[in-house]
Amino acid sequence: MTLTIPALRARSARRRRRRPLIVSLAVAFLVLIAVTGLLAPVLAPHSPDATSLLNSLLPPGTEGYWLGTDSTGRDVLSRIMYGARLSLLAPLGVVLLSGVLGITIGLLAARAGGWADAVISRGMDIVFAFPSLLLAMLVVAVFGPGLTAPICALAVSYTPFVGRVVRSVALQEGARPYMESYRVMGFGELWVTLRHLLPNVMPVLIAQSALAFGYALVDLASLSYLGLGVRPPDADWGSMISQARSAILQGEPWSGLLPGLVVLLTVVSVNVLGEHLGGSIGRKQSEGV
């Protein structure tokens, strides 16, 4: 007989929440990449390290080497599949590490306020202004190549990126009356921050992290390209592009272009997903008010 407001809202919300095609495609692609990386030993047609000078620089479409081979005759498809492991895990490490650091620092700044906030915020500005790749290169120069050092370096340089967002959302969220009502009910500052503030900051953070993941992937690929990241013979996409340099100059661009394309698609997918998450959170929050 009667429609209630929640019913009306749910109806329009359902319509709006329908996921756009582009987002579905992005998710599908990311799942595909992740699964191929995970199951590379089962799925890959060749060993990623098996060199064969007879089969070097085969073009894509060759029987048995569907995406061709690189200059040392390694199968590009297999290397892309194995490369997905490091190429996805390393940025994930960066995102998680910078997430933990950023949340801590951002919440601290927002809740402490006053001079502590000022000091933390200026500190973040300084790190923010420092080019992340340069920092990573410096760290690699000191600690030697390998993935751990650049991951930590990038995590540090991404921390302000996360910390700023957390701080601004926490300030905005912390000004809402429910924070105050918990204080009146006798709850401690730490409880309110962790139990109520953090979960309400989290959605924005997740969207932000998706974007950071994309940047980290590109930065790490750049490091690998410069020969500062993954050590051969381990495969990751950046190093594959790097090793294809001479082949590209010889007019055989495939072994570099294909991993490049995978990097591009992954980053675009992650960004599409991040935008979508951010957008739907924005809608949810505006409905909540």
């Binding site: 007989m1 009667t2 429609l3 407001i5 019913a7 009306l8």
Partner: protein
């Protein structure tokens, strides 16, 4: 004020071709967003008339559609909304008017004041610019507009208008800023002033000042005013006639003096009984069960029947037509049970 009331009545006779003399004529207005199955109705069969120089109250709770009705008079419909019926301001047909006609209408014939004066003034422009803007758009020369702005500020009781025009909105209190907005709204000598809860955000003593000013200005300029409010007492205090809205419909129209003594609609009476008063003896208040509804969620037949203590089976049959009862026009099947 009484003399004024009869004057307004005489100037604005009912019906027929004379209707175009009204400042505002809303007739059988229905509004819905969306189409087909998904359409959400917002207003149904709303008829409101504001004579020249008359003050008319539009009273209702949230979701009643009172602000929506007022905004329609300026052609400000919600996005994707479709309207039927007619809305005329002076002799302009608002619903069929093009963009240019609407712009001219808003510039010269009808003005609107909102609840929050800070939201309706550009915060980075000076008060003087705000006031002269509308005049300049009408083709008033810069110098004359500036003089007029000073004059207007003086009229609304801003001290030292000469320095006020050079100041920014944030330098004014809410009450003072609402005065400026009123000055701006009346600067173009409109025939119709739409006031949407203009004093709700103000303190009660400030409200009294702003209302006094608004009434005074309106009388001086002969402007018809549609006063939208949730406050029955306020409406009764300043309006000649009152329309009570509930769930997107007008449920009662009455001369405001009679509304308090002889409400004809159960909703009007329930509202009066639910409002505590500072005057007279302390009487218990009676809450109305349920919550105010929007048109889309209201029951079939009489929208108020699920909250009405007098509702019977006949109330569900169809939406009650407006019928005269006492001095009221009421959309209820049993007005005699409300006030004999």
């Amino acid at each position: 004020m009484l003399a004024k009331k009869t004057l307004a009545r005489k100037e604005a006779p009912d019906g027929g071709a004379e209707d175009r003399r009204d400042a505002l004529g809303v007739s059988r207005l229905s509004l819905a967003v969306g189409a087909g199955e998904r359409a959400i109705p917002l207003l149904a069969d709303v008829t409101v008339r504001v004579g020249r120089g008359e003050t008319v109250g539009l009273v209702g709770e949230s979701g009643s559609g009172k602000s929506l009705t007022a905004r329609t008079a300026l052609g400000m419909l919600p996005r994707g909304a479709r309207a039927t019926g007619s809305v005329t301001v002076s002799d302009v047909d608002v619903l069929s008017a093009g963009r240019k006609t609407l712009r001219d209408l808003r510039r010269t014939r009808a003005s609107m004041i909102f609840q929050d004066p800070r939201a309706s003034i550009n915060p980075v422009r000076r008060i003087g610019d705000y006031l002269t803007e509308g005049l300049r758009a009408r083709g008033v020369p810069a110098r004359a507009a500036a003089e007029r702005a000073l004059d207007l500020l003086d009229q609304v009781g801003i001290r030292d208008p000469g320095s006020a025009v050079r100041r920014f909105p944030h330098e004014f209190s809410g009450g003072m800023l609402q005065r400026v907005v009123i000055a701006g709204a009346l600067s173009t000598e409109p025939e119709l002033l739409l006031a949407d809860e203009p004093t709700t955000a103000l303190d009660v003593t400030t409200q009294a000042e702003v209302i006094a000013l608004l009434k005074n200005m309106q009388q001086v300029h002969g402007t018809g005013m549609l006063f939208v409010t949730h406050d029955l007492d306020l409406a009764a205090a300043i309006c000649d006639r009152i329309y009570v809205m509930y769930a997107g419909r007008i449920v009662e129209e009455s001369v405001s003096a009679a509304l308090f003594t002889a409400p004809a609609h159960p909703y009007t009476r329930a509202l009066l009984e639910a409002s505590p008063s500072v005057h007279g003896d302390k009487v218990a208040i009676k809450a109305i069960k349920g919550r105010p509804r929007a048109l889309a969620e209201s029951p079939s037949g009489c929208s108020f029947r699920d909250r009405c203590p007098l509702a019977g089976d006949d109330c569900a049959a169809s939406v009650p037509a407006h019928r005269p009862h006492g001095t009221s026009l009421v959309a209820c099947l049993h007005p005699e049970q409300v006030t004999p």
